[in-house]
């Protein structure tokens, strides 16, 4: 038995595989939240992305190298459109962000538009035609330990790593990132130095939504990979918790995402090995962990004010100055 069959290697490899959608979704949410807009529509936007990607993958002809980017693009557009409803309601009309986000998830979610579209498009009877398969990067997939963990993932995982680095640099090393954080911390101040608050908020809510769309595409093109109503199974909500868990920092969120990826894949891995652990216990574990982590994180952040944008959740009205 090779070292790569060691249970810890298997768990680490699947943690990254199953954590990938969480990375995209939480990255998207952090962009929106850094601009001061909380978007609880992640679950709904993910499902919109998933259904759009599944449609393109099934119905667009051509080689996978053309179809898959198109599917991702479609996912980004679909989820971005969903996000723009939230943006319009919360930024322009200043509707309560919590209720608007919930409305988006109900509208687009498991019993809403995504299911409706899948129904009229007859998705879900077969696996999607074009999928993201695991790669053998540099021929190192069989290398001991690091092979399965780092070099035997799908293109989406590698793309997510690039995005995490890009987002970190963007947030903390660029002028626009600085402006974005200013908008999230104090829109009044940002406005007074000429930063277009509404434009920043619109841009990042919609961009963030399109990331959630990629997260959804991870399910329909990589993990499942077919259409199932409500296939994201609450991962969108876990992504929201991860943003808090990672103190609004992409690098820490990546760690959190893989931790949860490990938890959600644990029952599959352990069952495959013939361990007799209650499946119910394992199924509940990610959700219980989210609560535990959230309690710890919120307790810590309320003491030290780590990371939460000060204006998060508050609409900005110029007249209020």
């Amino acid at each position: 038995m090779s070292i790569n069959d060691n249970i810890f290697v298997v768990i680490m490899a699947s943690a990254i595989f199953y954590g990938t959608p969480l990375v995209f979704a939480s990255l998207g949410e952090v962009l929106a939240e850094r601009s001061g807009v909380l978007n609880l529509g992640v679950e709904g936007m993910m499902l919109l992305g998933a259904v759009a990607a599944a449609w393109v993958s099934t119905n667009v002809g051509g080689p996978a190298i053309v179809v898959l980017p198109l599917a991702i693009l479609a996912a980004m557009v679909a989820a971005g459109l969903g996000a723009s409803i939230h943006a319009f309601l919360t930024i322009t009309l200043r509707v309560n962000q919590i209720i608007s986000g919930l409305a988006l998830t109900i509208f687009a979610g498991a019993a809403g538009l995504s299911s409706y579209l899948a129904g009229i498009w007859h998705l879900g009877q077969t696996p999607v035609a074009n999928q993201f398969l695991r790669l053998d990067v540099f021929g190192l997939a069989d290398a001991p330990i690091v092979g399965p963990i780092l070099f035997h993932q799908t293109l989406l995982t590698y793309f997510s790593w690039i995005l995490v680095i890009a987002a970190s640099l963007y947030l903390f090393k660029t002028r626009m990132g600085l402006h974005l954080r200013a908008v999230g911390e104090s829109p009044q101040t940002a406005d007074s130095v000429g930063i277009p608050v509404a434009r920043y908020r619109y841009g990042h809510v919609i961009l963030g939504g399109s990331f959630a769309g990629i997260a959804g595409a991870c399910f329909s093109l990589m993990i499942v990979p077919t259409w199932v109503d409500g296939m994201t199974a609450g991962q969108g909500w876990i992504a929201l918790a991860l943003v808090i868990f990672g103190f609004w920092r992409p690098d820490l969120m990546l760690v959190g995402a893989y931790l949860f990826g490990a938890l959600s894949s644990l029952s599959l891995t352990l069952q495959a090995r013939g361990f007799h652990i209650s499946t119910a216990f394992l199924a509940a574990l990610p959700y219980v962990m989210t609560i535990v982590v959230l309690v710890i994180a919120s307790n810590a952040s309320s003491r030290r004010q780590l990371g939460a944008p000060a204006a998060l959740g508050k609409p900005y009205e110029r007249e209020e100055r």
Binding site: A103, G119, L294, V295
Partner: protein, 375 residues
């Protein structure tokens, strides 16, 4: 610099017709947008709407079916309305409903067939309230104790409740599970003793489930509680101005915890109704597919968090849901109901703005430049 084509100005006076016109107008706009979505996706909106109205309200027995669908929405709607009123965003109605169903069916099975029906039904209501209330307390305590975001904790508890219900029926030899007969092969819940089946009142043309009547009574009680009692006053203060609450000698945390438990208990009674009045077994899959908790948020928002209005909105959305069940098929996809609910909610949220603000076309320069102009 001109930034927006229009801007919003708070209204100083509210015309009397506005609070009524806005929800109605929003509803009509939602139907219009829904019609556009239907047309784009190749459906005939007129026939879809006509079939919904027919199967929800007009055809034989349709209204009785609508009340059945409205009953759980009534309870989860009240659950959300009470909590949202004080700014406690409990979206755990789903899980609290399930816990109510577990507790309610548990006590009915425990009491068995040899007790008076009144006792069985009353205990189910009480135990349903306890089950949902305890589940609702968790996010309340976590919020007041650790400042943990109640939205995510209450939501995670929904999934955990679903896992527990699934475990009781599919994964264990529990007390709730039918272990003899076909139940030994295909896991399913034990049927409640007939004595514990809640009555359905026959008014001739329409059959009203006891659960719905109970919900109406509770809605009325909540209305009085919120308008006429000290506790209702405290709720209004905590919801409107939490900092003021302290000056008024109100302990916001105690109000939050009480409302969290009350909100959960309401959904829990809904769960007890589900097993007592309708399914008569604990059915985890059915509960999960129904999504009553989330729909309850739509109900509460449409009712503008008013408990009495919740009754009417529950009937309206119950009608759409009921029609959705009846019409489900190749030309009436399952997601249509959620799409319509979401659109109605979006339009109401937008419409609310019209009620609170006046839309003014803005042509003047931005405030910064105005301030910097020489006087």
């Amino acid at each position: 610099m001109k930034r927006f084509g229009f801007r919003l100005e708070p209204r100083s006076d509210l015309p009397k017709w506005l609070p009524w016109a806005v929800p109605v107008g929003s509803f009509l706009v939602a139907l219009l947008v829904g019609a556009i979505v239907l047309s784009i996706t190749g459906q005939n909106p007129f026939s879809v709407y006509a079939r919904i109205v027919d199967r929800a309200f007009l055809s034989d027995g349709a209204f009785s079916g609508t009340l059945v669908s409205a009953t759980p929405l009534l309870f989860t709607g009240l659950c959300a309305a009470v909590a949202f009123r004080i700014g406690f965003f409990n979206i755990g109605g789903e899980g609290q409903f399930v816990m109510g169903a577990i507790f309610g069916s548990g006590i009915a099975l425990k009491l068995g067939a040899d007790v008076p029906g009144v006792l069985a039904v009353a205990s189910m209501v009480v135990f349903g309230a306890i089950g949902g209330g305890l589940w609702g307390l968790i996010p309340g305590i976590l919020k007041t104790r650790f400042r943990t975001n109640e939205i995510i904790t209450s939501l995670m508890l929904n999934y955990i409740a679903a896992v527990i219900a699934t475990y009781l029926i599919f994964d264990s030899q529990s007390f709730w599970r039918e272990l003899s007969g076909s139940g030994a092969v295909f896991p399913k819940g034990k049927v409640l003793p007939v004595i514990a089946w809640w009555p359905k009142l026959d008014f001739g043309s329409v059959i009203v489930p006891f659960g719905f009547l109970l919900g109406m009574v509770i809605a009325g009680w909540l209305y009085v509680l919120q308008r006429k009692t000290r506790f209702g006053f405290e709720m209004r203060i905590v919801g409107g101005a939490p900092t003021t609450a302290r000056y008024a000698g109100i302990k916001p945390n105690r109000v939050i915890i009480a409302v969290a438990a009350l909100s959960g208990a309401l959904a829990g009674i809904g769960g007890a109704t589900d097993v007592g009045n309708f399914r008569h077994i604990l059915d985890p899959k059915g509960l999960q597919q129904s999504g009553f908790g989330y729909a309850g948020i739509v109900v509460a928002a449409l009712a503008r968090l008013n408990p009495v209005a919740v009754v009417f909105v529950a009937i309206l959305l119950g009608g759409i849901t009921n029609a959705g069940y009846a019409l489900r098929g190749p030309d009436f996809p399952a997601g249509l109901v959620g799409v319509l609910q979401g659109l109605i909610l979006f339009c109401t949220l937008g419409g609310e703005v019209l009620a609170r603000y006046r839309i003014k076309r803005s042509s003047q320069s931005s405030a910064v430049e105005t301030a910097m102009e020489p006087a």
